[in-house]
């Protein structure tokens, strides 16, 4: 009885988390489209990536596997590099320059 409730509770919690993350991604996509300035859009893209990491984490809980832990790390690293590239493009107008000094 209690164990069955536990399983159901996990399912309900996972689906609530899925829906919440999906809704927040929807809001962030609106911000990325209408964002008044480019730094707004850069921050929105960063936030979409963080929500993707959360989505993979929730999926790992849902599927009860630990194979997806590396995926979270990989998404985080690629997101970090992408955010740095966007930030440098907004700041200096060039991503890889000849000589940074």
């Amino acid at each position: 009885m209690l164990e069955q409730f536990g399983d159901n509770f996990l399912q309900i919690a996972v689906w609530v988390a899925y829906i919440g993350i999906a809704f927040s991604i929807l809001l962030i996509v609106i911000r990325a489209v209408i964002g008044p300035t480019n730094p707004d859009r850069a921050t929105a893209l960063d936030a979409i990536g963080i929500n993707m990491m959360a989505l993979v984490g929730i999926t790992a809980i849902d599927l009860q596997t630990n194979k997806l832990n590396d995926v979270v790390l990989v998404i985080g690293i690629l997101l970090f590099i992408g955010t740095i590239a966007i930030a440098k493009f907004l700041e200096k107008g060039v991503i890889i320059d000849r000589n940074s000094d």
């Binding site: 990989v74 107008g93 890889i96 000849r98």
Partner: protein
């Protein structure tokens, strides 16, 4: 371009994070073919570590530190991957067949060694070479080189 912007935080963080990324890429490379990982994603992680260094320090400095011809690296990777497939024919089994065995290696204990690792090494080199070739070709276009030459002539 503003000359007095300073990116001290980025430069300090890159020295730490590039090593973390290279270590993670080696972990992903050896985790492959039974778990998530392998040559492709390990190569992408290595390429992103190198790209991070290029973004932070500029092309001239990194080409002094890492004087690698990425096109040669890409060709070498394709050669290794192909030859590992051809090697299977030598033992009378179909092209690209693979095998594995358990060996007792000091310090690591009993380890599974698979011939798929050789193929993965080829994929790794090819992915790093192709990614870095594409990104550096896009980043260093001809107009920038011309501007550099004009600046040198004026100076």
């Amino acid at each position: 371009m503003k000359k007095n912007t300073n990116d001290l935080i980025l430069k300090t963080l890159t020295q730490l994070i590039a090593f973390l990324l290279l270590g993670f890429s080696i972990y992903l490379f050896f985790a492959g073919h039974n778990a998530p990982g392998g040559g492709f994603i390990g190569g992408l992680m290595t390429a992103s570590a190198i790209i991070l260094m290029y973004i932070t320090y500029g092309i001239e400095k990194i080409q002094q530190i890492l004087p690698i011809n990425y096109i040669t690296m890409f060709i070498a990777g394709l050669m290794i991957a192909t030859l590992s497939g051809v090697g299977a024919i030598m033992f009378g089994v179909p092209f690209l067949s693979q095998t594995f065995g358990y060996f007792d290696i000091p310090f690591f204990g009993e380890t599974e060694l698979a011939t798929a690792l050789i193929f993965d090494l080829g994929v790794y080199l090819a992915v790093v070479g192709v990614t870095m070739t594409i990104i550096l070709t896009i980043a260093t276009d001809a107009t920038e080189d011309n501007e550099m030459n004009e600046e040198k002539v004026e100076a």
